[in-house]
Point group: C2
């Protein structure tokens, strides 16, 4: 397997993982501090999905850091297959959760005029924005992983 | 480039394209017949996204049919790159639109108790289900295309 920038065990790969779990943590922090998020199924799903994203990306960031420090190469086909499946599952769940929450945020902000929940509305928007940023970084990782696996 | 099942110009490839635009057409037919879909940004976005899906998948289904009838091979790297980009863009837009609409449907059905829009609610649900089925078939096509391009 060819080793290019962004693959597991490289500096860019680790930066992408750190971006993923940081944005996901920002998203949870923003929405979990609103008093009424539990009334919305989509927001609960967003929290669950972002929590999964944090666990997955944090574990892979640690693995990347370990590989960088010990100068190990992580390009084992079985390991990469596992990363591909995990990345695609979390990326799909993150996009779905971010879009569902964005749909509700737009419904309250745009379709029903001004949002009646006061400061909470801004927090919903910030959380959705963070979730989309997390999705962008995980989708870059997913594409790199699939490319690496397919290119052999 | 290796020619395997599901690549452009194969029978399975054409079946996937037909499934994509049929489900997308079902989704539009179901939501566009409700009298109040234009009040929801997410539902308008769903229609726009599914319309794009129909145009893209129908054009590629025609190309597949042409390749099958004339027994031509469509495995040109430039052509495949174009298909990869188009597939990924439409797949992402479809998932985002389906999730945003699903978020709103769940909000009305589950979070707010029974939906007050009568028969419309059922149509919203059917439309979202069709949109997800369309996304599943386009995502299979996208993975095959990216694999084909990366494997060379």
């Amino acid at each position: 397997m060819k080793n290019f920038s962004g693959t597991p065990g490289t500096f860019l790969g680790m930066i992408l993982r750190i971006a993923q779990f940081s944005f996901a943590a920002g998203s949870i922090a923003s929405i979990a501090t609103t008093p009424s998020f539990f009334n919305f199924t989509a927001f609960c799903y967003l929290i669950a999905s972002m929590a999964l994203q944090i666990i997955w990306s944090f574990a892979l960031a640690l693995l990347d850091a370990y590989a960088l420090v010990r100068k190990k190469v992580l390009l084992n086909p079985v390991l990469i297959s596992l990363f591909v499946v995990g990345d695609w599952v979390t990326a799909t769940l993150s996009l779905a959760a971010a879009s569902a929450s964005a749909g509700i945020t737009v419904l309250y902000f745009h379709d029903m005029g001004n949002c009646n929940f006061g400061e909470e509305c801004q927090k919903y928007q910030i959380s959705v924005a963070f979730a989309f940023m997390s999705w962008i970084s995980i989708s870059i990782s997913s594409l790199i992983m699939l490319w690496l696996l397919a290119a052999g």
